[in-house]
């Protein structure tokens, strides 16, 4: 008995491995490959989880993020979803400068109110971004550390990017790449099957999940 315990003790002591070892340092190409692989795996995992839930509990109410293959407009997606027994809890969008974001509906806010405020906010915050960036740039020259060409270039580039985003917003509006919904699993599935712009339906956890948007297929 003594030998058995001692053997168990030493086995446990020396058999544990660090399963969280960091991968070895990778070059930029390796990083891109790994990140693309991670996105592919994420989509597979999401599809699998959704399929399992559909088979086991189609009537269960869930929160989901629907990621699209191609961008669309707010009004188009709101109109499409209104035909299903699904509630919109948020939107996701992306822009031409590599940024993305969204809008989370407030309690008791209607979709129409959210769409209106979302568009206003996009314009408001781009303007604020422009003014703040300009302020930082002009502020630089007033300080003792004065000339910081690296920062000046970075800030000037930012101003230029904001202006491009403002032009894009004016001509194309908000480009919606996803929508956050609440409803039954089966209702989500119906929406997915009947709209081929849907790339993947991802279940959100009840605790609120920080999930970035999945890139569009043409990016």
């Amino acid at each position: 008995m003594k030998r058995l315990f001692l053997l168990s003790f030493f086995y446990l002591l020396f058999s544990s491995t660090n399963v969280y070892a960091v991968e070895p340092s990778a070059g930029s190409t390796d990083l891109v490959v790994k990140q693309n692989a991670a996105i592919v795996q994420r989509i597979k995992n999401a599809n699998k989880k959704f399929a399992e839930l559909l088979a086991q509990s189609p009537s269960k109410n869930v929160n989901t993020i629907i990621h699209f293959r191609n961008s669309t407009t707010l009004n188009q997606i709101a109109t499409k979803i209104s035909r299903y027994n699904l509630g919109i809890t948020g939107f996701r969008f992306s822009d031409s400068q590599g940024g993305s974001g969204g809008y989370t509906l407030k309690q008791n806010e209607t979709v129409a109110q959210a769409i209106k405020q979302f568009k206003l906010d996009r314009a408001l915050f781009m303007k604020r971004d422009y003014n703040l960036t300009k302020k930082i740039l002009s502020n630089l020259s007033k300080t003792r550390s004065a000339e910081d060409p690296q920062i000046s270039v970075a800030l000037s580039n930012r101003l230029s990017n904001i202006q491009q985003m403002q032009v894009q917003f004016k001509t194309r509006g908000l480009q919606i790449v996803g929508v956050e919904l609440k409803g039954t699993v089966s209702a989500n599935d119906q929406f997915r099957k009947e709209n081929n712009f849907v790339n993947v339906v991802e279940i959100q956890s009840t605790s609120g999940t920080p999930q970035p948007s999945i890139p569009l297929l043409n990016q």
Binding site: D30, K34, Y103, T143, P210
Partner: protein, 217 residues
């Protein structure tokens, strides 16, 4: 004999609980790093009210590749620039993200407050793919937020590194802080930064010797 068995059982239980090198199950092992390998060289914050709601805007800038070296070594790396409102007295200026949010950090997300305590309210847009952050560029995070219980409060800004484990998982369950050197307060509560208001900070950035910043207020 009985004492030996009891001692062995206790030791086995302790081993089972402590597992491998991760004593805290909410963290994961990350390669040791210094703050200069992931904390931004400079940052700006602008927190206020714009007639619609309170909001937080943050800018961050990494001057060189070396300042991003932790993120570049691990494709699972995440980054969270937190704006944390002092709520020990129930009078935080900010409460939680709501409405509009945006960032040009790679793969941005709105961080959850699910596991946070009530005394410090963190309003954060994080990056799930920090390895794609590049030097020499100003990044932004911006979000509206619900109001806290006060009209003004102290704020602290922090830079937190983490990893996704496994790398394909983007849920809360798979996002972990690093088990060491994971969090630096670029602007601690003691600095006197209060919201509403603006703030600049620089971290181990010898090019910046001084700078004042008042935002647009």
């Amino acid at each position: 004999m009985k004492k030996l068995i009891s001692a062995s059982l206790m030791l086995l239980c302790l081993l089972a609980i402590s597992g491998n090198s991760n004593a805290d199950i909410g963290t994961r092992y990350c390669i040791p790093t210094t703050s200069a390998q992931y904390v931004p060289s400079k940052g700006y914050a602008d927190i206020g009210f714009d007639g619609v709601s309170r909001y937080v805007i943050q800018y961050m800038y990494w001057r060189t590749s070396a300042r991003l070296s932790f993120f570049k070594t691990d494709p699972r790396s995440t980054y969270e620039p937190d704006a944390i409102f002092y709520n020990y007295d129930g009078k935080a200026y900010g409460n939680a993200p709501i409405g509009y949010w945006y960032s040009d950090l790679p793969s941005p997300y709105v961080d959850t407050q699910f596991s946070d305590g009530p005394n410090e309210k963190a309003v954060t847009i994080g990056s799930a793919a920090a390895s794609n952050i590049n030097p020499g560029r100003f990044y932004i995070t911006k979000t509206r937020m619900t109001s806290g219980g006060g009209t003004s409060s102290r704020v602290k800004l922090s830079s937190q590194r983490g990893i996704r484990d496994p790398s394909s998982c983007y849920t809360t369950n798979c996002s972990f802080g690093c088990n060491q050197n994971s969090n630096y307060f670029t602007v601690p509560f003691q600095s006197g930064y209060t919201a509403p208001g603006a703030r600049v900070y620089w971290w181990l950035d010898p090019t910046t010797r001084d700078e004042r910043y008042t935002g647009t207020q």
